[in-house]
Amino acid sequence: MSAPEVAIVGIGIHPFGRHDGVSGRAMGVHAVREALGDAGVGWSDVDFAFGGSRDGGNADAMVADLGLTGLPFVNVRNGCATGGSALVAASNAIRAGAGDLGVVVGFDKHAPGAFGSDPAAYGLGAWYGETGLMVTTQFFALKIQRYMHDHDITGAALARVAAKAFRNGARNPNAWRRRPLSEEEILAAPMIAHPLTQYMFCSPGEGGVALVLARADQASRYCDRPVHLRSAVIRTRRFGSFEVFSPGLALERADSPSVDAARAAFAQAGIGPEEVAVAQVQDTEAGAEIVHLAECGLCKDGEQEEWLARGVTDIDGALPVNTDGGCLANGEPIGASGLRQVYEVVAQLRGRAGERQVPGDPRVGFTHVYGAPGISACTVLSR
């Protein structure tokens, strides 16, 4: 007997942004209740759960609010890939026959401002943080600076990515930044890390997302338009990839973990990048979206400049990217961020994305997250 396939039959979200007086865990509970309601099931029907948060406390503590049913609830802590890792684990649990119905949840609540990081937690000397080299925004600037040099990408392309994000965010009731910004405003904003200005970076924020997973052969019980999770893959960095929090890098360049994860996700799904009708890729800053489009196999290196000029990645373009406004418009509550992408693709494939709905009845979607210290998680979804 072959392993069961996996479908997503319920999605829930707590709006992203700043919510004074609401705990991260409460946002997670809100998202779980919404996802359960979407699937038409109760918490007592759930066989297992995986969840995570960086700064919002233990995910499994939410059983106190949701109900003490005794189910196995595993906490996941894997940086920006927290949500992706929880999804992989839940998917594997269904395939392994450990349960028929599972919940995946991610939430977070971060202090304002760029993340501070503890060198010791990454196996690095204290000097690395003390002398001002351990800053994620710096890494992204260093990476895009080289990429722009190698592949003739301009500052105008960076501004176009950010302007698109805020345009899309304006159409998304769950987004944080809902005011469109012009390319001129974005380019004129204070320089955070050359060549990236303030409006080209996302901000740490707050929010929660939950998904209900079921065996695909049972999905019609819960949902009239289930979305199949065709693959979910995590990878860490290999020797030679250009990664955040690296005091030294190899002379030789290897593919990034995003390349590895995307390639494996497409291979496992039996679906090629050319079939993707809607994609969410990690846009921690505007340059990251440009780099990740190529790393995920969705375009060629250097092609992004022309794509952005032509609006290929707009909602009504040939390959809509970050249709919900991405990290730039939603902010980045780390535990929730990767699952937000999956939420968005499921909403799009069901045709329920409202004002930001991709036209043409999209059937295949893709998600990608990237984070410290060189991890990536990708999914391929289809209807």
Partner: protein, 140 residues
């Protein structure tokens, strides 16, 4: 008494010609910085200390525009500083502070050399444009 380095084992100091301290794998030859006790490429634990070259080229760069959160221990009065990766030929790329923080005076491929600079009451390593390869801001 000379100022103390920000960490032991990072660079030779005091020294007329200071060098960064890396390591080299005796099995596959890969050089790493800072020194580590195993090889990230071939997984061997047979590694030796290696003093790295003092000159290289700028692989990429940026300018840090805001004061980082702790554990950053630089001056309260924040001044933007340059950061880059320097390619030491045949060895390794090293992440470093740059003595130049003006985008018009930085370009990928420029020649740079190791210097030891004050950092609070300690010293740390940085790279500075090599003489003769400084970018003329008026022409950039």
């Amino acid at each position: 008494m000379p100022a103390q380095p920000v960490a032991d084992g990072l660079f030779t100091w005091p020294a007329d010609q200071p060098r960064l301290i890396g390591s080299r794998c005796r099995e596959c030859g890969v050089v790493t910085f800072p020194a580590q006790r195993s090889c990230p490429r071939c997984t061997s634990v047979d590694v030796e200390e290696r003093l790295l070259g003092r000159t290289g080229t700028l692989y990429t760069w940026t300018v840090q525009g805001f004061r980082p959160k702790p554990p950053y221990a630089g001056p309260e009065e924040f001044e933007p500083y340059g950061v880059g990766y320097v390619e030491l030929p045949g060895e390794v790329l090293v992440e470093t502070r740059l003595t130049v923080a003006d985008p018009d005076r930085l370009r990928i491929g420029m020649a740079v050399e190791l210097v030891i600079v004050p950092f609070g009451d300690q010293v740390t390593y940085a790279f500075a444009p090599s003489e003769g390869d400084a970018v003329d801001a008026s022409r950039a």
